[in-house]
């Protein structure tokens, strides 16, 4: 076994093995359990990076593969350049989140259950990132759906259970739609591999145009729920009842990006040019553009800190979908890069929301006044990430918007620039008030008199991760032009996809 396949196996299996170990260690062996979790996350992150290295030095079409037979299609993992982007993002942020969660959950109960299912979620995300075909992708996709549920309802309160039910009401029918789409596609096209540039033979358009359209709709329905495309986004704000690490890693990175990543796979690597031939792509672009504006508008109206972030996520995810749907190497590169960019920035913000809630019991934006002076590191990191998402250079969000704008002009779809502009204004409109309250207003709400105004920066295990991810977000933007930055990598992938 070469190190290529070994890295693939370690990246995909370690989270699941970690989960088993965590479950077995149980509630009371906390130290050992934490050590196991950290070791597992570190090994996974390292292996994911190794997979990326493997993808980099392998010739197209000769990427490392490992798997076995299942249903005449195979259960196959492969480290290709697109997949490893998501795998590296999920793996590395898992390590960071594990540190954060150790701090965040230090006083909570049911930690074995929490960390166990958390590991399964990450493992599923990495598994679906590295899936070589739709069947494998779907297996991990649904595993992710199921393993998220215990995390959403973690607190066990009626509100949490209600949020969990809402989540299921969206996720399960979506899974069913996806299943039918995937099976149907296999019926008419045989085993569906992910191949850069699309794997469906173009002859199918003549014979199965209707079926292909219906299948595309089913697949988008199934993936669109996790990608929180309007009108399938309703579960995401409801799922904010989950503990902060879940919102941070899963509802800003792993779960939702599984949806957009799936859309990218289907549009770029399954349908390819067929999507345009069938006239499906413009519709997807329209939905994505609408979701961008819609999410931003809804975010404006939220006072609940995490819900505002959730609607921001709804909006930001559609940047990725839009980039994929525009159809051109630069736009696709923007989409793939944003997978990483948004992850780093949004996870910072959710970490912040969690830290604020945990340390000073503030859950509403209207109560954030003066918090900047009390938690300067935390709020500083938040501000950096927020400015980044708005698209102020040189932070990561700017790189995305630049690439996306260029890509849309290149593809002759300049209207996207208008969407970007409007969205940026709205981003600013819902994030700058937070920054303003935190830094430029004095504490006025009741907790200030109760707790005083001294610095209450949280547990180091929480502060360090969020500062780190904010700095990573900054670095991704500053170094966007450097080799191996997400943006450069994304352009490499995009040129593979479009044969440029």
């Amino acid at each position: 076994m070469s190190w290529h396949t070994l890295a693939l196996l370690v990246a995909a299996c370690t989270p699941f093995l970690t989960a088993v170990a965590v479950f077995l260690l149980g509630e009371h062996r906390g130290t050992l359990r934490t050590a196991t979790g950290l070791a597992g996350a570190a090994a996974t992150a390292a292996a994911a990076v190794a997979c990326a290295g493997s993808a980099l030095i392998s010739a197209p079409g000769e990427y490392a593969e490992v798997g076995f037979g299942l249903l005449e299609i195979g259960f196959v993992l492969r480290s290709d350049p697109l997949g490893v982007v998501f795998a590296v993002v999920a793996g590395c942020l898992w390590l960071v989140t594990t540190v954060y969660a150790t701090g965040y959950m230090s006083r909570s109960s049911d930690r074995a259950r929490f960390f166990g299912f958390f590991s399964i979620c990450v493992g599923s995300a990495i598994g679906l990132a590295l899936s070589a075909n739709l069947l494998t992708f779907f297996v991990f996709y649904e595993t992710l759906t199921l393993a998220t549920y215990p995390l959403v309802v973690h607190s066990g309160t009626p509100a949490a259970l209600k949020g969990g039910r809402t989540y299921l009401n969206y996720a399960l029918p979506a899974g069913a739609a996806l299943a039918v789409g995937v099976i149907w596609l296999h019926m008419i096209a045989g085993p569906v591999e992910f191949v850069a540039g699309g794997s469906l033979p173009s002859s199918l358009v003549q014979t199965h145009a209707g079926s292909l359209t219906a299948i595309f709709a089913l697949l988008m329905l199934g993936l669109g729920v996790k990608a929180a495309l309007f009108p399938l986004h309703g579960w995401l704000p409801a799922a904010m009842v989950a503990p902060a690490p879940v919102s941070a890693l899963l509802h800003a990175v792993a779960v939702v990006k599984a949806g957009v990543f799936g859309i990218a796979r289907v549009v770029l690597e399954v349908y390819g040019p067929l999507g345009r031939d069938l006239g499906l792509i413009p519709l997807l672009a329209a939905v994505a553009a609408f979701t961008i504006i819609f999410g931003s508008v809804r975010a404006l109206a939220q006072d609940d800190f995490k819900k505002r972030l959730a609607y921001s996520t709804v909006s930001q995810l559609s940047y990725i979908v839009l980039g994929v749907a525009i159809g051109g190497p630069l736009a696709a590169a923007a989409a793939i890069a944003h997978l990483a960019h948004h992850a780093a920035m949004k996870i910072t913000m959710f970490f912040t929301a969690g830290a604020v809630a945990e340390e000073v019991k503030v859950y509403r934006i209207s109560e954030l006044d003066g918090l900047g002076r009390r938690m300067p590191l935390t709020m500083g990191a938040f501000s950096l990430a927020a400015i980044g998402i708005v698209g102020v250079p040189p932070i990561a969000g700017f790189a995305t918007k630049w690439l996306l704008g260029m890509g849309s002009i290149e593809a002759g779809q300049a209207w996207v620039v208008a969407v970007l502009g409007l969205s940026s204004v709205l981003n600013a409109a819902y994030f700058f008030p937070i920054i303003g309250r935190a830094w430029f207003r004095g504490p006025k709400s009741e907790w200030a008199s109760e707790h005083g105004t001294k610095r209450v920066e949280g547990d180091l295990r929480m502060v360090a991760p969020l500062v780190l991810t904010a700095l990573v977000g900054l670095a991704m933007g500053v170094l966007a032009g450097a080799a191996l930055s997400p943006a450069s990598w994304a352009q490499m992938v995009a040129f593979l996809e479009f044969g440029g």
Partner: protein
């Protein structure tokens, strides 16, 4: 002759004889029950695996009992289907045996469990191997008799009445079947299934025989609307018995049904009837799931889930008749569903049994927060639920994949709609319980908890649930085994393109 060679030649007989010999021994020695059952269970395991490997290597095996050969004598016929059922029975049987050894604390009071259970086990193996229509009747009676006696074992009134209802339905079912056998013999002069296959004609007698046998077997398989006896019997039996009943016993009569319809009688059955069975199966899926959603007791919920899951098995009949690749997919998918349901359902009942053992009741509203106190049991139930919902990664998903494939291929897409809808309904009742498990404890719930759940009970349930899950990714060997020696309607077809 070396021992291994002898064992190899005698495998079909040995898989039956091991539990069949253990049964009277377990009855003879009052304290021998548990050890004898465990030894027998551990011996069945390698034998079943060896048998499956033999079939995978050599193809269909025939074993002539008494050296006479059918149709004068009785033959064991071991094809992929039979080997699969034997394999799954011996795996589940072992785990149920281990579970039961922890479950029955009052070993003296429940000493008759062991011989009855071993008889049940032996008779299931006998049923799966038999190639003779009348011998199948005797096997059916053995299965029913031991199953009913096991249901009544606690002698609680609900259990007794449920057992009686079950008994009456089972005997009536057997009589219908036996009448069919009489007609088949009178008209076509044989009892051997292989001989009958060549001789059978779709005339009045042939059709009447099929109608009678089908009704009898449907009654025993509890297909809607003949399911009335199943929920009380499965819910009120001791939990290891519930597991065996839902996982294995209902599959016994179903097994004969598919042998009859798809193997023996393919030319003589009208397509309309196959569709009728499909429709009844569909109604069972919806009706059973809705009933499961409405139950207040955990074991009743699981029992109604069985009513629903049985429905999927019957989609096999219309789908197989489409022929071609669709038939091959439907055959493998249907059998695979039977297998994964067997694993998952036994896991569910065993988990429910642990809940009952801890709390002294199984009211769903009273299980709040149990995942904190009995995480393994909650996990077992949840993982088994994945197969019930037909979601990946689980054997249920692989089965549904194939059945949906078959329905798309055959152009009868409405079966796919039923399959998908059934999965969502199943999610409804599964998450109803899981939500409780993960939710808060009500006042008094914790006090009611005796904390009694031996490892033998928690781990066996989890092992079964994990087995159902593993089938979802690593089920290919089984998918290859099932079609070996499949009926002509299904066989002779290559793999799906």
């Amino acid at each position: 002759m070396p021992l291994s060679e002898w064992v190899g030649a005698q495998l079909p007989a040995l898989v039956i004889l091991v539990p069949l010999t253990a049964a009277p021994v377990a009855f003879l020695g009052v304290r021998l029950g548990r050890p004898v059952a465990l030894v027998s269970a551990l011996m069945s395991q390698p034998l079943a695996i060896a048998l499956a490997l033999e079939v995978a290597r050599e193809g269909v095996l025939r074993y002539e009992i008494g050296g006479w050969g059918a149709p004068l004598g009785i033959d064991f016929v071991v094809d992929g289907l039979a080997a699969t059922m034997i394999l799954v029975t011996s795996v589940i049987g072992l785990l149920i045996t281990v579970y039961a050894s922890g479950y029955f604390t009052d070993q003296d009071r429940y000493r008759f469990f062991w011989p009855l259970w071993l008889f049940l086990w032996a008779s299931l193996h006998a049923l799966f191997l038999s190639g003779d229509a009348f011998n199948l009747y005797v096997c059916l009676e053995l299965v029913s008799m031991s199953a009913v006696a096991l249901v009544a074992l606690t002698a609680r009134r609900e259990a007794l009445v449920a057992a009686m209802r079950y008994m009456l339905a089972a005997i009536l079912g057997s009589l219908f079947y036996l009448l069919g056998v009489a007609l088949l013999y009178a008209a076509f002069g044989s009892l051997d299934m292989a001989t009958l296959r060549g001789a059978i004609r779709p005339d009045v007698t042939g059709q009447a025989a099929f109608a009678l046998m089908t009704v009898g077997l449907l009654l025993k398989t509890a297909l809607f609307p003949l399911h009335f006896w199943l929920p009380p019997a499965h819910a009120n039996a001791p939990s290891p018995v519930s597991a065996a009943l839902s996982a294995l016993v209902v599959k016994g009569s179903f097994y004969i049904l598919i042998r009859l319809w798809i193997d023996v009688g393919s030319p003589s059955v009208a397509p309309g009837t196959a569709h009728l069975l499909g429709v009844l199966g569909s109604v069972a899926i919806v009706w059973g799931s809705i009933q499961a959603l409405r139950q207040e007791r955990l074991k009743m919920l699981v029992a109604y889930s069985t009513v629903a899951q049985i429905g999927y098995l019957f989609l096999l009949f219309p789908l197989v008749r489409a022929g071609g690749v669709a038939a091959a997919d439907a055959w493998t998918g249907g059998v695979f569903h039977a297998v994964s349901h067997a694993l998952a359902k036994s896991a569910m009942f065993l988990a429910a049994g642990t809940v009952l053992a801890r709390l002294g009741h199984d009211r769903i509203e009273g299980v709040g927060g149990l995942s904190r106190r009995a995480p393994l049991t909650a996990m077992a139930f949840g993982l088994a639920g994945v197969t019930m919902m037909g979601l990946p990664p689980s054997g249920g998903f692989v089965a549904k994949w194939q059945m949906i494939s078959a329905s798309v291929l055959s152009g009868e897409w409405w079966w796919a709609v039923v399959i998908v809808a059934g999965g969502l309904l199943a999610a409804g009742y599964v998450f109803r319980v899981i939500g409780r498990f993960l939710g808060r404890e009500e006042a008094g719930d914790r006090e009611a908890d005796t904390g009694r759940s031996p490892r033998t009970m928690e781990w066996t349930a989890l092992a079964l649930a994990l087995g159902a899950l593993v089938l979802g990714v690593a089920g290919q060997p089984l998918l290859d085994l099932i079609p070996i020696g499949a009926p002509a309607l299904v066989a002779g077809i290559g793999v799906t393109p």
